[in-house]
Amino acid sequence: MTIKNLFVVFALGFAGLFVAGATSSFAQSHVNSPDPSLGTPNVATETSHIGNLTGHAEEGKHLYRRYCIGCHGPDGDGDGMNAQWIDPKPRDFTQATFKCRSTPTGTLPLDQDLYNAITRGFVNSNMPSWNPLTPQQRADLVAFIKTWSPRWAKEQPGTALQIPPETPVTIDSILHGRELFQKMECWKCHGPAGHGDGPSAATLTDSKDNPIRPYNFSTGTRFKCGETNQDVYRIFMTGVDGTPMPSFADVIKPADAWDLVHFLRTLQDMDTKEAELWKTYVAAHRADIKPIGPDAAGGQ
């Protein structure tokens, strides 16, 4: 009889757990289970538009909880439980500052920019490519991400950068790009050979005061904001917001920008047309090439 009573107790205990499990509120009041009221009141109305797709923040909320919350946090501020262990840190959506955009520095990105960022992921970081999610799911996530910052309700996204057709890849273009690399003082952070070891490199911090290294062109990996020449163009023309990398849109003309793109490709350890041309030129003109860096007068 005693054993039977014991089992009754256990049965009721398990029954209680069953009820508890079935009701959302208990499951979600645990410290590791986020509140069902995830997000801000904007969630009910915020949408995104990418091509023909319309994303809805209400749907995006459920996807955020499944896929994003571990790093980006239940408050969308990049302070998820994993954030302390990863570098670079997850994006803080409440600031509406984004690295990879087609819009000018300081302005909101287009929905398409956020969609591309989710789809592509960020290489050399913990942000995976979410390409396996359906386009609708990614559009829903874009809509939800926008609800974390009040800026989306008041501001329009910036005007997308107009990228002119690429100029031909010639050695003249590369040489001019090299002059720009010197003149714009890119080498101060990126180093004369683009190894991320320029004089200012060691002291760089991002906008949250975390140490950050400039991109090292020679490691052969892809750029964070995309792999094509158009993406490289966009990176230095719009700047990588939230990091020390500024926008050069006011100081580099579009044709010159393409020259710089072509030169930057020669710094990478990849098989590109630009690298080929450059290698041939260097073999024949080694003595003519002035090193990049501070000049004798100590100026730029």
Binding site: G106, R151, K188, G242, G299, Q300
Partner: protein
């Protein structure tokens, strides 16, 4: 009626940088002034090593000092922004711009107050590139490259905020944009003195802000034409 109009015009002449657009601020000739001092021991300012940028280093016979707690004789605090934080009616931004210079790899002035919506012009007077990176959190954060000889950057801010400014290339460069709702503000010099003029009679909250020690406020009531003196004292810590 005429007398009031005259007073209006007089007040207008006294306020801010002189120019006005739209509705003028209510005129007055009361003023609040005083001194900002500290008690305790502030940190010692350190000399800045600019050897990584020779074109700037050679502009300074002796190294410049850090400016996060700049003091003067008599325990005064420099670069404290004193402004009306309550009781003032909003005024439209003046048409004249404020100017920020990057010279000798320093920001001049170290702390630049301005009004919401007021034009801000940023100049690079050096032979080296700077990137101008105001770390705004309420306003949009942007980051632009400004090579030597390039034109001034023209911009403005739409919300009040204390914005730290830095140059990533030259990590010792630190400054502040102080975007305010009010046209009544004053930055202390080495003598720690501030003066808020042209105030209509009324009850005001005056706030003093120092970049390391934060803000302090006092309530002040002034009658028409009255001059009141108040002082602020910050508790200094050696770090």
């Amino acid at each position: 009626m005429t007398k009031k109009l005259l007073m209006l015009l007089a007040g207008a002449a006294l306020v801010g940088n002189g120019g006005m657009a739209g509705l003028p601020a209510p005129a007055g000739n009361a003023s609040i002034s005083g001194k900002v001092t500290y008690t305790g021991t502030p940190p010692k300012m350190k000399p800045i090593d600019m050897s990584k940028e020779p074109s700037c280093a050679k502009q300074h016979a002796t190294p410049v000092m850090t400016e996060n707690v700049a003091t003067g004789a008599g325990d005064t605090l420099e670069y404290v922004v004193v402004y009306i934080s309550a009781g003032d009616s909003d005024s439209a931004a003046p048409t004249a711009a404020v100017r920020y210079d990057q010279k000798g790899c320093q920001y001049l002035p170290h702390v630049l107050p301005m009004q919401v919506g007021q034009n801000l012009q940023i100049y690079n007077d050096d032979q080296t590139s700077h990137n101008i990176h105001p770390l705004a959190k309420v306003n949009p954060e942007w980051n632009k490259s400004q090579p030597a000889g390039s034109p001034a950057i023209d911009t403005k801010y739409d919300k009040p905020e204390f914005i730290p400014v830095k140059c990533n290339i030259h990590p010792w460069m630190h400054g502040y944009f102080v975007v305010l709702n009010t046209s009544h503000y004053s930055v202390t010099g080495q003598d720690g003195a501030f003066s808020l003029k042209g105030l209509p009679a009324g009850k005001y909250t005056v706030t003093a802000w120092q970049e390391q020690y934060g803000s302090q406020s006092q309530d002040v009531t002034v009658g028409a034409g009255e001059s009141k003196a108040i002082n602020f004292t910050f508790k200094a810590l050696p770090y």
